[in-house]
Amino acid sequence: MTDLTDFSLEDQIEGLSSKKFSSVELTSSYLKKIEEQNKVLNCFISINENALDEAKKSDLKIAKNDNGIMEGIPVAHKDIFCIKDQVTTCGSKMLENFVSPYSSTVYEKLFNSGTVNLGKTNMDEFAMGSSNETSFFGNVLNPIDPERVPGGSSGGSASAVAAKLCSFATGTDTGGSIRQPAAFCGITGIKPTYGRVSRWGMIAFASSLDQGGIFARSALDASIALENISGFDEKDSTSINKKAPSFYNEAKEEDDNHVVGIPKNIIENIKDAKVKTNFYESVKILEKAGVSFKEIDLSNIEYSLPVYYVIAPAECSANLSRYDGVRFGHRCENPKDLEDLYERSRAEGFGDEVKKRILIGTYCLSAGYYDAYYIKAQKIRNLIKESFVNAFKEVTSIMMPTCANVSFKLNSIQNPVEMYEQDIYTIPANLAGLPAISIPSGKINNLPLGIQFIGNYLNEGNILNLSNKFQQNTNFHNE
């Protein structure tokens, strides 16, 4: 019997609208697989009890030819996106029982395009982590090898898409939280330009870096989903007031003008020989497909990690000050005074990694250290952005590995800095606000590896096109 969950998003949309199968059938297939596999993978925090009802409604709309673009497509949402009247935990004890009074724009847009919500996916607490080991709701496992992590912070979404437990999934990326788990799980993950996707209702970690995006099984599938969450939103003051093009059309069109930059200083310093070999093999595949390459110099990019670990914690310490045990979220028992209420509610509600980042951020912003840390980091951030702006005068996109290595075993990294180094290749795009995508590029010891394309501002179509070109000439995304 045909397994509907094997179909690509493209084929599912076609199958539903031409009534080859129904959304109830498709949604049931996913729910059945979730029931079987979630016990092991732990990629969902909650399952939407109304999923089948939503699917029935979609089928009625399809019958009346009143369907949205993605009518009846079952999707999973990272549990950082608020959905009205549903629990939104952000992977934290702090929000364990938080029922959102409103919905995020990303959810609303996908709902309006007809998707069926399967449930909310597990994640590192408040999106702080690179392995999904900081979630209050336990580890997520990598479906490729269940002894290993799926990456983070959007590990649940990545694991769910890789295990075919949803058609596609939403995620967020502050320093690599879409691209790194996509690489670890062997799927496609895109973080668009900062401001392309509204942050309304997306729980804040570091507001100048956070950006919503998509996990899917191919660049074409990702392009369809991405165009349906993009666009101006007056509720987000950092939303870009420009209409998003059809990324799907842009991904599919013939484009012979790709000039891909290879940042010499980064590629030469790749420590793992197999990762370096894979990178150059990927270059060869694209060269055969007619893509040109050019060596570029991205100066100061090596400072991205220190800069990020000042700016992200600083913004997080400010954003997470809202969790005070008064208006919503966890509240300690029997506080003796207001100070005690704040200090114990926050101590009990936040996990260790979140506390660490709030403390670092508070330190960097405190009197006497503000200039030495925060302003210094902002100045170098400017230099990093400038390096990219200069590079894009010569090239149409930039290619580098997504991660320094393949997925690692659970609990194998204990040193915080070693964990932070996971994001060494993904952080630069967040600092500059550029769109970036990770796609599967092969395997080392049966574990997937990803390559990353960084595009110029608002040029998601370009990197989706390049990714599609790669996927038309390879089969890594279907393995």
Binding site: R327, I360, S366, L383
Partner: protein, 95 residues
Amino acid sequence: MKISEEILDNISSLSKIKIDEKIKPKLISDLESILKMVEEMNKIDTSNIEPMSHPLDEANNLRGDIATKEIERDDYQKSAPLIDDGFYLTPKVIE
């Protein structure tokens, strides 16, 4: 940068997070290793560089300051740990 227990107590007080005595030594060592990595920044001269607070030049698309009834107080307070007649309750602040 050395993080003394005094500095840790100060930032814990500023961030309103009570720190368990037992985890202080490990926390101090973690914070020190993070700050050591961060201090790599000092290798670069940034004297004439403007700080960048935001990736986009055209940020701050502000909407009109118009009151809406999109979200009602009651909906918001459904998630509050302790309320009474529309008010959030806290321990007594003024004696």
